[in-house]
Subunit: 216 residues, 2 copies
């Protein structure tokens, strides 16, 4: 393989993208994100859960949360990464990872009081369709105690790598095992709260749960 | 349950910790972290792999990486989070997650040229014991093309939650399924590179791989 061919092949496997659907798909494939923000010019990163509605992404927490207060009306960076595998090459240098990642930048806004209940319902319904109607209804003081931040998806990029390792030409002749070690996040069997009422079966939205909402 | 008892119970399940071993254990349980840094006062978050040696944590990348250049001799925040499950309560408000997280702050330093090969070997050996000796040896230009950043673990905190949901007293009488949906990151069966030499078996360090180095 010539260096040019190698570059082309590498590009096929590892691409950056700015198209909204690629970004939506990565955001929808996991609930886990990391929000970066600054306090007095110092970087902070807080892991949290996010959900997407249209061209907005949201996250939430206690209204007492320092992170949420500091990120409100401030520049944030929201980062999502899913590791799909370790890429085992014939040299240490060409070891890599298969992954999907999205990075969003912008100014986070606070969801107004009157919209919070609808946003929280949407979060629960995205993950567990039908759950909001079986839950004890939200209380006004609970909604008040919850802050939701939103970010319009305007400045965003997606990156992904897939496929086998790309080694130096000469190294393909070496008797070294190369390939992929796949990684997946799996959902285990639900564990009932010992304090559940007797004979209460786990509903379908629990049994069929997947955090990957691209498949829904 | 009185509010005081509830607070005590909550504390048992969700604790913060500053002791080094708790922080080491979380850092060692995954390779995935997010590094936060600032460029012109704006927050950036880059997902990457880390590894720990004693009281230092390291991450690496291309010497051309803007992230690594901007984080060198600069304040960073390194964040690790492992999700162990979704905590399904009887009200939306008490839904939560079981997790382990660690957050480190400090000034990242560049690992000097003469120490880079040893650090990279340590990274590979931590994850795949015995792999460095079977790989094609590192070339000087590869070491040069790699930048490694380090952070001394001085300002760090760990947080974790485990166990069942903690609901409001009155809600335990409702016929709502509550409990845990466990989440685990699992290692799949290795996929050989189609360009491997014939009859090359995956070595033990591939077959037995786990990213959780606390068990090693």
């Amino acid at each position: 393989m010539t260096p040019t061919e190698r570059t082309r092949l590498r590009r096929e496997h590892q691409r950056g993208s700015y198209d909204p659907q690629s970004i939506y798909d990565i955001l929808d494939a996991t609930t886990q994100c990391s929000v970066g923000y600054t306090i007095d010019g110092k970087p902070y990163v807080t892991p949290t859960f996010h959900w997407r509605e249209g061209n907005h992404v949201y996250w939430h927490g206690s209204s007492a949360s320092r992170m949420l207060r500091k990120a409100t009306d401030a520049e944030v960076c929201l980062s999502v990464q899913i590791i799909d595998g370790y890429v085992m090459a014939r040299s240490a240098f060409h070891h890599s990872a298969n992954y999907r990642s999205a990075t969003l930048f912008g100014r986070a806004f606070k969801v107004p009081e009157e919209e919070k209940a609808a946003r929280l319902d949407a979060f629960v319904e995205h993950l567990w369709p039908g759950r909001t109607e079986v839950l004890r209804p939200m209380q006004p003081q609970e909604i008040k105690a919850t802050t939701i931040l939103g970010l319009e998806i305007t400045e965003a990029s997606a990156k992904a790598r897939s496929g086998p390792p790309i080694d130096d030409d000469a190294d393909y002749g070496l008797p070294i095992w190369a390939g992929i070690i796949p990684m997946t996040q799996v959902v285990g069997a639900p564990i009932a709260d010992p304090r559940n009422l007797p004979d209460l079966a786990a509903p379908d939205h629990i049994i069929n749960f997947t955090p990957d909402r691209t498949s829904q």
